[in-house]
Amino acid sequence: MDLLMTWLPAFLVGARNTLIYCCISFPLALLLGLMLAEMKNARYVWLSMPAKLFIEAFRNTPIITQIFLIYYGVGGVLTASNLAHFDNAWVAGVACLTLNYAAYEAEVFRAGFLSVERGQSEAAYSLGLSAWHVFRRIIFPQAVPLMLPTFVNDFIYMLKDSAIVAVISGSELTSTLLLATFRNPGNTLPLFSLALALYLAMSLPISFVARYCERRLRAAF
């Protein structure tokens, strides 16, 4: 119990940092994902092909490989050529989470836009709306409620995947946990339980929100 009380403040700071990682990365991932989805839907190959390549590359490699590649590989080259310098894991961690999740969110956006019936946009076009107006006023408002539960679920996934930042010592909950277990190698189970409980305390309320959204959505249709 003493052990838990001494480590609790550090764990809480770690949990806060986990939330900061996600709250920075997820909106960025949504923005990039929306851009990628629009690019992939474009009729020009020079727009759609790069988006496809990006999505396949990031969806088919482990996030831990990406984080090592960005932190040690790209970071090393940038440092060697005096272009940038990583003092800590924040930039690499946020970049990795953003790029990885953008690839997944792009597919969510695409599925969402496809689920809006074609007749809707055809009707809007025939009423004389411009392409931007059709997207902004017709497709987007109808697609967002459909995508919302998936986004909330993906946010929970990101909350869990942000643990991977610990491998480049990213000062979030799992990093704190690793530090604590290395300091107390004989008595690790309480520390693990505390970390698992904190993750559950973060993810379960959000998953209830997701389920609530889903139920509301099902009732609406």
């Binding site: 090592f68 991977i164 491998v167 693990f192 698992l196 559950l200």
Partner: protein
């Protein structure tokens, strides 16, 4: 501007000049793409044939890295298959538990699913390897010795005598950790698959005199399989990716090997190259699995349409 339409002239909607111009950029893009692919190939070729330590001849990266990486890619696939088998077993039991009429079984399965799905895989793996394994080790259980004793009973312990104890331990706990984690996800997949089969099917089978076991095996499972197979293959792909996390436990699979080759390099561009090469290995494994999953999905969709 109004165009007067005369009889006999086909009505053609002309694309605007800007759009035609954008279409032409495609050609430029194809040229760029070919150049990029060629450049990437040359990049791989250049670093694979560069001598690692300058002054020594024949000591090229291709001969040193590729056999190691291939070997450890095999280990990655092996542990993924073992974990998936375990996860399938746990998922099937879990799904039976979630659909059971006995409340404690239902609660237990629900707690399992919620706890596992609410916490990161990495923390679970650390929990198994540094938490549970240590407690069991202090109580006298050790996977390597257990395996050795088992093989002694089978009179073939020379098969495992040469294995590294750390490797066996990390493999064992890694497979348990991954299997336990993915078991929870597969529980939900199997549950929704089993629930998707109309209850009339079960009733009809039972009224025709099939027993519960035959009903499950002959009626329910074949129909549920169609819905569960696509998510099942998708989870297998994510499992292959998550097996890279075992490198944190010190299990020498592909990711650990990439790091072991990359960190000692002083030249940062060689370091970057090794990470890119490793990512390429994972990409080949996962992308071929993804293509297989898409193929299966289309096959099953076709079968469903009749």
């Amino acid at each position: 501007m109004h165009k007067t339409i005369t009889a006999g002239e086909p009505l053609v909607f002309r694309r605007s000049a800007a759009r035609r111009w954008l279409q032409r950029v495609d050609l430029l893009f194809y040229a760029l793409l070919v150049t990029a692919i060629g450049a990437f190939g040359y990049y791989l070729y250049y670093y694979l044939t560069t001598p690692l330590i300058h002054g020594l001849s024949g000591n090229v990266a291709m001969e040193i890295y590729l056999p190691f990486l291939l070997q450890h890619a095999g280990l990655t696939i092996l542990i993924s298959l073992v974990s998936m088998a375990l996860a399938t077993l746990l998922g099937f039991v879990g799904a039976q538990g979630r659909l059971a009429s006995f409340p404690p079984a239902r609660w237990l399965a629900t707690i399992y699913v919620e706890v596992v799905r609410g916490t990161p895989v990495l923390v679970q793996l650390l929990f198994w390897y540094f938490g549970v394994a240590q407690v069991l080790f202090s109580l006298g259980f050790d996977p390597y010795n257990a395996l050795f004793n088992l093989m002694t009973i089978l009179q073939s312990n020379s098969l495992v005598a040469n294995l590294d104890q750390n490797v066996v331990d990390a493999f064992f706990w890694g497979a348990i950790g991954l299997g336990f984690n993915y078991g929870a996800y597969l529980t939900e997949v199997f549950r929704s698959g089993l629930q998707s089969v109309d209850s009339g099917q079960r009733e009809a089978a039972l009224s025709l005199g099939l027993n519960a076991r035959q009903t499950l095996r002959r009626i329910i499972l074949p129909q549920a399989l169609r819905l569960t197979l696509p998510p099942f293959t998708n989870y297998f792909i994510t499992l292959v990716q998550d097996s890279a996390l075992l490198s944190v436990l010190g299990f020498v699979e592909l990711e650990q090997e990439i790091g072991a080759l990359a960190y000692p390099q002083n030249d940062t561009s060689i370091k970057l190259f090794i990470f890119v090469l490793g990512a390429l290995f994972y990409f080949v494994i996962c992308f071929s699995l993804a293509l297989l999953a898409r193929f299966l999905e289309s096959r099953f969709a076709k079968a469903y349409r009749g």
